[in-house]
C-alpha cells in the first residue's frame, strides 16, 4: 500500500484524494478538535492511533504515537538520552527520517529528533499556537515557500546569515534563494521544488494527430480539436479550486496577483488586465466544455488520466510520483516537455509547490539548528537520500539538478523517456514569486470562492473579482496598506 501521497509537500493534498487513506490519517488529527458534533452530547472519542506513517525503507526509530496527539516520531527518538545538543525538527515528507538519522550519525554533537505533526496546515497551526504560547515550537520545520512570509512578518523565524547561510547561496537556483530571502536577510534554506511541465499521454495525442503544443494559442486550438474528435476526452483538466496550481500558471503568464517584499504594504491584483486576460483564456475553454473540471491530484483525476479522458496534466515535477500508483493502462505512455508559451519561442517556466526549512526564533540552539537545515538541503549526502523513494524530492540544489544521472531518473509511467529532462530544465527558467503573508487565509477562502467555477456556476473572471474583494478586505482588517 502506498501511503506516500498522504504526506505531501502541498497542503491541500491532505484532502482525501486517493483511496481515502488521507482522510483516515486526517481524522486522527480531527478527532481532537471536533468536540462539537451534530448534537450537544459528546459523541467523539479521542483517537490515539498514529496517522499512516511511511512504513517504508525508513530507518527511523519506532514510529510511535504519543497517546494524546497525532504526533509521530520519525527519527531521533533516542536523542532524549543523548548528551548532544537536542534539535527538534517538524516535517512530513515520507522517508525524510533516513536523512535525519544520517545527520545524527555524522554529527555527534547534535541530535535531531524529527516529528511529523501533519502535512501543511496542521503543522502551521501547531507552530502558530506554540509561537503564541511562547514555547513549544520546533527548532527547524518544513514550511512551504508560500507560507514562509507569514512567519517572517511576525519575526518568528531567524535570519540565517549569521549562521553562514550565504555560503550556500550559489548552491541553489536563484529563484528559490530569493523566495527564502528578504532584503539581505535569509530566513530559510530552500528544499524541494515543483518545476512545471506539460506532462502528456503521448499515445493519446498521437491518436488525435496532436503534437505537444508549444504555445498556449496552439494549446487552445488542440483542446477544441481533441474534444470535437472525441466528446468524452479532454486536452486536460482545469482544477479551479487548486489556488496554488492556478497561481503557478498565472506566474508563467506574468499575471502574478501580488506584490510583497515585507512590511505593511501589499499589492493585491486579481482584476488587472493581465489577470483578467488569463481568466478569460481559460474560461473560454471551460465555457465550451473543452476542459475536464475536477479536483486535481485526486483519485478521480488520476483515473481520468489513466483511462485516456485527460490527455495531459499541467504537472509539477513531483506530479508523476503521485500519479504512478494509480496508473495501469497508460503506463509507459507519459512524456514531459516544456509548458506551452504565451510568446512563441520564449522559455518561461513556473513552479508549483515545494518547501523551505527555517529556524524558529524560539530555538535555544539556532546555530546547531541552522547547521542541520543547511546540511539537509545543501549537501549531496542528504540529497542522495531524499531524492529516492519514498521521499522523491525534486531539488533546488544545483549540483543535483546538473547531475546527468538525476536527469536519467525514470519510472514506469514514461517508458524509456526521461521526464526529468523537462523538469530540471524548467527549474532554471522560473522567476521568484512574491507571496503575501496571509496565504493560509487565501487558500482557505479559495476553496469556497472557486467552487462555483468547478461546477460551472460561475466564470473564472467572476471568481477572480470576488477573490479580490475577499483578500482586500482581509488585508485591510489585518492592518495592511493595500494597493490594488
Amino acid at each position: 500500500m502506498n501511503t506516500d501521497r498522504t504526506r505531501t509537500r502541498r497542503r491541500r493534498r491532505t484532502r482525501l484524494a486517493v483511496g481515502g487513506f488521507a482522510a483516515m490519517a486526517a481524522i486522527t488529527g480531527l478527532a481532537a478538535c471536533s468536540s462539537g458534533s451534530s448534537s450537544s452530547s459528546s459523541s467523539t472519542s479521542p483517537t490515539t492511533s498514529a496517522p499512516a506513517t511511511s512504513g517504508t525503507a525508513s530507518a527511523s526509530a519506532a514510529a510511535s504515537a504519543s497517546p494524546s496527539s497525532s504526533v509521530t516520531v520519525e527519527a531521533g527518538a533516542s536523542c532524549a538520552s543523548s548528551s548532544a545538543v537536542k534539535i527538534t525538527f517538524w516535517a512530513w515528507v515520507p522517508g525524510l527520517g533516513r536523512a535525519v538519522n544520517e545527520f545524527n550519525a555524522t554529527h555527534p554533537g547534535i541530535c535531531v529528533t524529527q516529528e511529523d505533526v501533519g502535512a501543511g496546515d496542521p503543522e502551521y497551526v501547531a507552530i502558530t499556537n506554540a509561537l503564541k504560547a511562547g514555547s513549544g515550537a520546533p527548532d527547524v520545520a518544513e514550511v512551504e515557500y508560500d507560507e514562509l512570509p507569514s512567519f517572517e512578518i511576525t519575526k518568528s523565524v531567524d535570519n540565517l546569515v549569521p549562521y553562514g547561510a550565504n555560503n550556500y547561496k550559489n548552491d541553489f537556483v536563484p529563484w528559490a534563494w530569493q523566495e527564502v530571502s528578504q532584503g539581505s536577510a535569509v530566513y530559510a534554506i530552500p528544499g524541494d521544488a515543483g518545476p512545471m511541465a506539460f506532462y502528456y499521454n503521448s499515445a493519446l495525442l498521437a491518436k488525435y494527430n496532436i503534437s505537444p503544443p508549444t504555445t498556449w494559442a496552439q494549446f487552445a486550438t488542440d483542446a477544441a480539436t481533441l474534444h470535437k474528435d472525441d466528446p468524452s476526452a479532454y486536452m486536460t483538466n482545469f482544477a479551479a479550486t487548486d489556488l496554488q496550481w492556478i497561481m503557478s500558471l498565472m506566474a508563467q503568464d506574468n499575471a502574478w496577483p501580488f506584490t510583497y517584499t515585507g512590511g505593511s504594504n501589499v499589492t493585491i491584483d486579481w482584476t488587472g488586465a493581465a489577470q483578467m486576460a488569463f481568466a478569460q483564456y481559460w474560461q473560454n475553454m471551460l465555457s465550451a466544455h473543452e476542459l475536464n473540471s475536477t479536483t486535481d491530484v485526486s483519485a478521480t483525476s488520476f483515473a481520468d488520466m489513466d483511462k485516456g479522458i485527460d490527455a495531459s496534466w499541467l504537472s509539477s515535477a513531483w506530479g508523476p510520483s503521485y500519479f504512478l500508483p494509480d496508473a495501469k493502462s497508460s503506463l509507459g505512455d507519459w512524456r514531459a516537455t516544456a509548458l506551452p508559451q504565451w510568446t512563441a519561442g520564449a522559455d518561461v517556466a513556473a513552479n508549483w509547490g515545494g518547501s523551505s526549512y527555517p529556524v524558529f526564533a524560539q530555538s535555544q540552539h539556532p546555530a546547531q539548528a541552522a547547521e542541520f537545515a543547511e546540511w539537509l538541503n545543501a549537501t549531496t549526502a542528504s540529497w542522495n537520500i531524499t531524492k529516492t523513494a519514498p521521499s522523491l524530492l525534486f531539488p533546488t540544489y544545483v549540483p543535483l539538478l546538473n547531475d546527468p544521472s538525476y536527469k536519467d531518473l525514470n519510472n514506469a509511467l514514461s517508458g524509456t523517456s526521461d521526464p526529468n529532462v523537462a523538469f530540471t530544465s524548467a527549474a532554471s527558467h522560473i522567476s521568484s514569486d512574491e507571496w503575501p503573508p496571509f496565504m493560509t487565509e487565501a487558500l482557505n477562502e479559495a476553496s469556497t470562492v472557486f467552487a462555483g467555477v468547478q461546477n460551472g456556476k460561475e466564470t473564472l473572471q467572476a471568481a477572480f473579482t470576488s477573490f479580490q474583494n475577499v483578500l482586500v478586505s482581509y488585508a485591510k482588517a489585518q492592518g495592511f496598506t493595500v494597493n490594488t
Binding site: R12, T14, R15, L16, G20, A22, A23, M24, A26, I27, L30, A31, C33, S34, G36, S37, S38, S39, S40, S41, S43, T44, S45, T47, D121, V125, T128, I153, T154, T241, S264, T295, A299, T300, A303, P437, F438, T440, E441, L443, N444, E445, S447, T448, F450, A451, Q454, N455, K457, Y474, A477, Q478, G479, F480
Partner: protein, 295 residues
C-alpha cells in the same frame, strides 16, 4: 448537636458536587469568560493586539456569511429533525407494541450508530457516498439517475441530513421508547376494549402522552443542529470545495479562528452563537413550564 450534624451533611454535599463544579468552572465558565474577554480585543498582523470593544460583535452582526450559515443550519434542522423524529417514533411504537421478534436485539442494533463517534460515522458515510467509487453513487447510476454527485452543490445538504439522521435516530428512538413504556397500561387497555383502531391509539393517545419527550427532543436536536460541525468538516476532506468556509456557524468560527487566525473575531462569533442557543434553550424551558412539566 443538631446544628453540627447539618454542618457535616452540608460539607458532604459539597464533596458530591465538587467533581462536577470543578469541571464546570474549568471547562465551561473559565473558557466562556476568556472568550468574552478575547472578543473585546483584535489582533492584527500589522499593529498587534489592541482593545476594540464591541467592534468584533458589530462585524459579526453585519457579516452576511455568518448569518448565511445560521440560516443553513436552520433549514437543516427544519428538515432533519421532523424526518428523524417520525422515523424514531415509528420504530419506538413498533418495539413498544412488542410485535417485532427479537425486539431487544434490534433495539440495540438501532442504537449502535449513536455509539459510533460522529467522525467515524461521517467518514464511513463519505466512503458510501463518494462520487467515484461509492456504492450509493453506483447504485444511483445503475437505477438510471446518471452520474450522481452526492457531494455536489445540490445534494451536499441532503447527504449531511442523511448522515445525521442515521447517527441520531437510535438515540431519539430510545428516549421515545422509554416514554412510551411509561404510558399507563390501563389507558391503552380501555382503548382496546372500546375497539379503537391501532393507528388511533398511537396517534391520539400515545403521541399526546409522550408529547413532553417529543418537545424535549425537538429542542435538544435544534441545539445540536445549530452546532453542526463534524459532518461538514469530514465531507470537505472528501471533496474539496464542497463545504464553504461559512457552511455552518461552528465551522465558520473554526475557520475564522484557525485558518484566518482571527481568534478575536471568532470568539465574538462564538459568543453570539452561544446567545442564540441560550435563547432557544430558554424558549424550551418556558414551553415545558407552560405545559406544567415542572414548577
Amino acid at each position: 448537636m443538631r446544628s453540627s450534624w447539618i454542618h457535616r451533611r452540608d460539607r458532604r454535599g459539597v464533596w458530591f458536587v465538587a467533581p462536577f463544579l470543578l469541571g464546570f468552572v474549568l471547562f465551561m465558565l473559565v473558557p466562556l469568560g476568556y472568550a468574552v474577554y478575547t472578543s473585546l480585543y483584535t489582533y492584527r498582523i500589522i499593529g498587534g493586539t489592541s482593545f476594540t470593544g464591541a467592534s468584533n460583535y458589530t462585524a459579526t452582526l453585519e457579516n452576511g456569511l455568518f448569518w448565511n450559515g445560521v440560516i443553513r443550519v436552520i433549514i437543516f434542522a427544519a428538515i432533519q429533525i421532523p424526518v428523524m423524529l417520525v422515523i424514531a417514533f415509528f420504530f419506538a411504537c413498533v418495539f413498544d407494541l412488542g410485535v417485532a421478534k427479537y425486539g431487544t436485539f434490534f433495539r440495540t442494533v438501532f442504537f449502535i450508530p449513536f455509539a459510533v463517534p460522529a467522525v467515524v460515522g461521517a467518514v464511513m458515510w463519505s466512503f458510501l457516498l463518494e462520487p467515484q467509487f461509492g456504492p450509493f453513487t453506483r447504485l444511483a447510476s445503475a437505477l438510471g439517475f446518471g452520474n450522481t454527485n452526492f457531494f455536489g452543490p445540490n445534494l451536499i445538504l441532503p447527504s449531511i441530513i442523511v448522515i445525521v439522521i442515521w447517527e441520531w435516530t437510535g438515540y431519539n428512538m430510545m428516549i421515545l421508547y422509554t416514554a412510551l413504556k411509561s404510558v399507563p397500561r390501563d389507558v391503552i387497555e380501555a382503548a382496546i376494549l372500546d375497539d379503537t383502531p391501532l393507528w388511533k391509539i398511537i396517534v391520539r393517545i400515545k403521541l399526546p402522552l409522550v408529547r413532553p419527550a417529543v418537545v424535549m427532543l425537538i429542542f435538544l436536536n435544534t441545539i445540536g443542529a445549530l452546532q453542526l460541525f463534524t459532518e461538514p468538516q469530514i465531507l470537505e476532506y472528501f471533496q474539496q470545495g464542497a463545504i464553504s468556509v461559512n457552511y455552518t456557524p461552528s465551522y465558520y468560527i473554526y475557520q475564522t479562528a484557525i485558518a484566518a487566525d482571527e481568534t478575536n473575531l471568532a470568539a465574538a462569533m462564538a459568543v453570539i452563537l452561544a446567545v442564540i442557543i441560550v435563547l432557544i434553550s430558554a424558549l424550551s424551558l418556558i414551553a415545558r413550564r407552560r405545559r406544567g412539566e415542572f414548577a
